[in-house]
Symmetry: C2
Subunit: 342 residues, 2 copies
């Protein structure tokens, strides 16, 4: 069986999900919904992706630029099994009644509230929970980064508490209207930040407190994470567990000279499409163990980290893979996740 | 008795210390040592500050610009009781033999190694330890911020452990050669950062781990601090203790709308010389208490936070005040520390 998929929205996440679906053998990208006939629409045309518009109103502008429009979102919804909603945060919930009306399963992004879907999702934590569900919410980039780390170390050692400080990039590289350009912004001033609560949509019992700031950079988020484990560990134990896990890349600053998000991204520009780093990057020398306390730095590429999880979520909804291991193998092979950066 | 003081270096810290000394009744600014006849030298002339040069070599360039040079650093050292070394980090240690040769007491900044002086110093923690010593090292801006918080809450509740993530400004506003301009830099990648060790130069027994990143902004540092107290507290207890303490300003984001370093600095531009904020700023809504764990955000104005401590250190070396309380009253009144920002 080949799963018929549509993508609503062709921004940072939507376009990556669409191109990733094209690389899967068990899925067919029926089309994407796009509002404006810009450079990204021209690239979609070049990639042979059928384009639909939110309503008939937007179609003419596309046709004027020589971009054929297949129909409206309703036409797309009538031709697919699952829609990946990649609209701006909060918009997905407004679309949900339309998706339901057309009887398609739904994948939402982390910008939606948890109640938009049957389950909040992160492959390394709860793939099996999403199997056969009607709708799934793939948690946000920062939450995905935290969950990959926590679930990996929880399986290896047991995690009893987590504290994290999230240093957020202010905007994605393509965004020209967001700030700050010279400030550290408490995000928000009141603690905890929502990220801990978001982690708990997947791990409801975890004692977790997060704090976040926004800083003037576009490349990646950085987290400083402190975990309390069930028993004492050595830093070598922790590094070994992380190196074994899928979708986590342990980078040695001493061996590579990389000590910032800029240098990491420069390496990715050489070997990765769009310089995407869907892996969670843990900095090896930062891993510190003191009794049962582990402290480390990790970096999250906000544009691409959730793409593998979106593909996995499609397999879960479509019943295309029965285990996390199975979908991870397919997704990571097709997208090059885990391929060396040097 | 009036203490005769010289300042070596007229950069970010040196000029602020010099202008602050001019405001003290029990000290006399004999002169500053400056290397280049730039705008800051012209401002020193306007402020009536006698200028000395590192050697006779530099004097001519000053005279050509109409700035009178009183002599060399050796002439200055022969006319003072204490020198405040505000030269670039590591340079103070090279000057120390010269200071000793001329028999003057010394104040160094946090950029020097701890062994440069008899004692590392932070007024709220160990003023009395510095009394009558020959040399004192005023710890760096970040360490001063951490110590003000920790010593205040230690006196109120007992602090058994501290964890802090330091989000550092990349450069001071006047600096045009430093970066990054688009990256988050691990500072350093290996944990812990030196800040915890520096805190221990004042509080040797504290269990403290710090991590730091550098981000593209010039205004202030931000810390996320987690403290383990000896017993459970409420957030109201913590806020009350901080509000009572000198040199700590508790700012409510809800009441002021301030949620970033930029907005804080904008408020200071209105009411403070150079927009200096020598107080440690704690964000009220961030203060979170969970059992005996306290988590909060604080901001450190790197250019000015150590200025009151430099003035106090002069009083300690000169025996001008026998208690922290006494010097704090004099320093804070003269510099306007603790005056409202709105």
């Amino acid at each position: 069986m080949v799963l018929r998929v549509g993508v609503n929205g062709f921004g940072t996440i939507g376009k990556r999900v669409a191109y990733a679906i094209q690389l899967q053998d068990d899925m067919d990208l029926v089309g994407v919904v796009k509002r404006t006939p810009d450079y990204a629409a021209l690239q979609a045309r070049r990639a042979g992706i059928p384009i639909y518009t939110p309503s008939e109103r937007e179609a003419e502008a596309f046709e004027q630029r020589g971009i054929h429009v297949r129909g409206t979102i309703e036409d797309l919804l009538d031709s697919i099994d699952v829609i990946v909603d990649a609209t701006p945060g909060g918009t997905g919930a407004k679309y949900k009644p339309l998706y339901e009306k057309h009887g398609v399963k739904q994948i939402f992004q982390g910008g939606e509230k948890p109640d938009v879907a049957d389950v909040s999702f992160s492959t390394l934590c709860n793939y099996e929970e999403a199997l056969g569900k009607r709708s799934v919410r793939v948690v946000s980039c920062n939450t995905t980064g935290l969950l990959r780390l926590i679930c990996t170390l929880d399986k290896a050692f047991g995690v009893s508490a987590a504290r994290a400080v999230i240093i957020r990039r202010a905007a994605d590289p393509k965004e020209i209207k967001r700030g700050p350009i010279n400030a550290i912004v408490l995000n928000p001033p009141k603690l905890p930040s929502h990220h801990g609560e978001d982690v708990r949509t997947v791990l409801p019992k975890l004692d977790i407190v997060t704090a976040a700031v926004v800083v003037p950079t576009t490349l990646m988020h950085v987290h400083n994470v402190t975990l309390r484990l069930s028993s004492p560990v050595t830093r070598r134990d922790v590094i070994a567990a992380l190196e074994e896990a899928p979708r986590i890349m342990v980078v040695s600053s001493e061996e590579t000279g990389i000590k910032s998000t800029a240098e990491l991204m420069e390496a990715a520009r050489e070997l990765r499409k769009r310089s995407d780093i869907p892996e969670l990057v843990v900095f090896e020398e930062s891993v510190t163990a003191r009794g049962n306390e582990v402290i480390l730095f990790q970096a999250v590429h906000q544009e691409s980290i959730v793409i593998p999880e979106n593909i996995d979520a499609l397999r879960a909804l479509g019943g295309l893979a029965q285990t996390a291991k199975e979908t991870i193998a397919l997704t990571d092979e097709s997208l090059g996740v885990g391929q060396p950066l040097w």
